[in-house]
Amino acid sequence: MKYKSQSVAKLYFIAAIALFVGQILFGLVMGLQYVVGDFLFPEIPFNVARMVHTNLLIVWLLFGFMGSAYYLVPEEAERELVAPWLAKLMFWIFLIAGAATVAGYLLVPYAKLAELTMDDLLPTMGREFLEQPTITKLGIVVVALSFLFSIGITILKGRKTVVTLVLLIGLTGLAVFFLFAFYNPENLVLDKYYWWWVVHLWVEGVWELILGAILAFILIKTTGVDREVIEKWLYVIIAMTLITGLIGTGHHYYWIGTPDFWQWWGSIFSAMEPIPFFMMTIFAFNMVNRRRRNHPNKAAVLWALGTAVMAFLGAGVWGFLHTLSPVNYYTHGTQITAAHGHMAFYGAYVMIVLAMVSYAMPMMRGRKAANSPRSQVVEMWSFWLMTVSMVFITLFLTGAGILQTYLQRYSDQPIDFMTVQDKISLFYWLREIAGVVFLIGLVLYVVSFFIGTDDPEAVEKIEVDAETA
């Protein structure tokens, strides 16, 4: 670790992983409720489990992005972080606010939570993914602004690189678009229209910039390829992300009451959204193939390559599967959406955060560059267990979604929702089993931090060119 203030990231990473475990546990509870409807009812109703599952995902990824930025920016800017105390203070505020919000979801009825947190003063609650009480949302804004201040000033005072520039644009966009969470018009069409400015423009817009910047940083560090080469790729990838992703928002506007032209705009631009992910895969493999060094942290390189592949599959391929308006007419809101959501989030954002944790954590724990080989083996097992089980979760949900679409919406004699749910329950059981394997992978991931801590660390293998040897 080159700069002392980078150690702030450790707190964020630990919290991120703890919340990740929570997210998966609630996912398993909910997965079981699909087939055993009254499981843990009334203690944890399905809607609450779902809210906790999705909110924890967002919060832990935000912790992960912040931790990544706090680690990456000092190294890129070649100076200590501005106001590391602020980063620590904001960490505790964010963690306490997040924990209190989840406790609120679990302990009191949602309507009561709205009343207790005085949502009527500025109503923002009750919308998917943005269920947080208004006071929590205000807390998020304070945390985001402090974070941007700390990161932004560090970048401006230090060396400016393409990586930090792209990261800063992504993080600023993240903060700005979150402000639409406070806009809650009476008109439902307008409400949905701007709600997507938070949800879509985060995950298919500015978050991709953050993903690109972190991936580029890890590849610069682990491959030794010239920064200029990596930066050129990054420019093209983020350009394609913004060109396709911004107007690609239109694929959410097909059925909410917006003008007809969105059918065309949404279909055309979102059909191009796989392009940046396609390029990202070529980019990652190309850089690793052209590497000038064999970095001893093989687990981090594996996560980085995995991110590129899984993001392409989850966000690119599975997104394209149901993005064209005539297809989406039938598939909208079915388990196909869930299949896409699971693999896209895992591939694009979970894996990049884990890649960064994998790269940075050994150094923050006193290693020179990497964990011991034993620890890395366990971590790589966790990679494969989580990744393969996520592929199966996606495939089972895809099968369920296709059947659901056919039986409920396409067939000459459509069947009602609940009867169809019964007919596809086998897929839900299989998904639950895959989910348990995912949890085992995650437990192994946590275990990898405690294994081989006293062993010597992995060393860089020097390749000897056969022609010069």
Partner: protein
């Protein structure tokens, strides 16, 4: 047709290898059939190309033929056996097609990366054996 001229410092045949891999991907993603015909034309025209280029042309033609069998023939069999109106047929056919197509694209991406680096690459399971003088 593409020029077989290489950039300075490149292995002979690198440009042609990149074009072959790009055509393979274009056949899967953008212009099915047309890109495959272009590959066949390359195969005829560049029989005396450097081993790197010729191996990529051979690999991509072989992989494209397999892609045709795996995506068109196998899917047709699934639909014929399961019946056009069967919901389970479509659940299997669409899931299978998406998986097979994505896997073939990923193979093509790795092939393109190897071509960019001036290296030969054998497509797993569906690629022909590489000639011995092929740079790896």
């Amino acid at each position: 047709m593409p020029s077989s001229t290489n950039e300075p410092g490149e292995r002979p045949g690198t440009t042609l290898a990149i074009v072959a891999e790009s055509l393979y991907l274009a056949n899967l993603l953008l212009i099915p059939g047309i890109a495959f015909i272009a590959l066949l034309v390359m195969y005829r025209r560049y029989r005396d190309a450097p081993p790197l280029a010729f191996s990529h042309i051979q690999q991509t033609i072989s992989a494209s033929l397999w892609a045709g069998a795996l995506l068109i023939v196998a899917n047709a069999v699934i639909i014929l056996l399961g019946g056009y109106d069967g919901p389970y047929t479509w659940a299997v056919a669409i899931t299978y097609f998406t998986m097979a197509h994505s896997t073939l694209i990923l193979f093509g991406m790795i092939g393109l990366v190897r071509a960019l680096a001036g290296q030969c690459w054998r497509y797993p399971l569906i690629g022909r054996p590489l000639p011995e003088n092929c740079p790896k």
